[in-house]
């Protein structure tokens, strides 16, 4: 790692926040996610010579992280996720009660997706990778990524639509009134 170009090093550091967000979505646990990111950084610096300058650095790092997660996953399966949920635990900026409830619904729905679909959805829908880049990271065909993303969206839509129908009617209004009434 002694020969890491400073600019490359800066780029790697700049990718850390995104790597963490992706790792949390994979592992469902903030501490494990940070361990994954740390291991990813060590691997990246140790194998920096295998990175071809001018190619996609974030995709390269995401691939390392995903492979690490996969090999670890095979070893000990997915640990029971925090009941609080990893994403929920990181949420600091949504004090509004209704928004928070919405998030809880969403996180629960996301947890129900098969890992392949969740991963594809996060890469394309949140990390901002193209289908082609996501396919490279997941080492599969572009069409496979597309169908995983579509299935993930459909499934989430179904889960959330059911929630919506259940929430339909007085419930949300009642909640809002109660919440408003609680305020001094």
């Amino acid at each position: 790692m002694s020969n890491v170009d400073p600019a490359l090093r800066d780029e790697i550091i700049a990718a850390i926040p995104n790597l963490r967000a992706f790792a949390i979505s994979l592992s469902g646990n903030v501490d494990r996610a940070d361990d994954l990111v740390q291991e990813t950084l060590l691997r990246a610096f140790a194998n920096i010579s295998s990175f071809r300058i001018g190619t996609n650095l974030p995709a390269w790092l995401f691939t390392i992280l995903r492979n690490l997660f996969r090999s670890e996953y095979r070893k000990r399966r997915r640990e029971v996720p925090d009941s609080d949920g990893a994403f929920a635990a990181t949420l600091t900026t949504h004090p509004d009660q209704n928004t928070h409830l919405d998030f809880e619904d969403f996180r629960a729905a996301l947890d129900k997706l098969p890992p392949d679909q969740r991963e594809a959805l996060v890469l394309v829908g949140a990390s901002g990778f193209s289908y082609e880049e996501a396919a490279e990271i997941c080492q599969c065909a572009v069409g496979t990524i597309k169908s995983r993303v579509n299935r993930a969206r459909r499934r989430l839509g179904e889960l959330l639509a059911i929630d919506d129908v259940e929430d339909f009617g007085p419930d949300k209004t009642t909640l809002a009134v109660i919440a408003a009434g609680d305020r001094p």
Partner: protein, 107 residues
């Protein structure tokens, strides 16, 4: 028989349950579908094509969750790690061995 309601909604509603239907008509405008029709369509969307609003909501929530983590920036833990790597760089080899040991820990 089946065509009756569809072709002449105003006639059939006036004829059958004038009071209730009339109120709906007044509230929602003369030729808009009844409340019942709207609800059915909502359910149909939810079951099959999915409302685009739900898809939009999915995208928003996904990014909001993700960005919430991204906004936390680079935790000190990683800056410390990089500093450690820099220091061990002088001592040749290393390749982060001293540091990588504790990441696998935890049992």
């Amino acid at each position: 028989m089946s065509g009756q309601g569809a072709t002449e909604p105003s006639y059939s509603s006036e004829g059958s349950m004038s009071g209730k239907e009339k109120m709906n008509d007044e509230q929602s405008g003369a030729h808009t579908p009844s409340v019942e029709t709207l609800t059915n369509r909502h359910l149909a969307d939810a079951g099959t094509a999915l409302g685009s609003d739900i898809q939009a909501k999915i995208g928003q929530h996904l990014r909001a969750m993700y960005d919430d983590v991204v906004r936390q920036g680079v935790p000190d833990r990683f800056l410390d790690l990089l500093a450690k790597l820099d220091r061990s760089e002088g001592k040749e080899s290393g390749e982060g061995k001293g540091v990588s040991g504790d990441s696998g820990g935890g049992q």
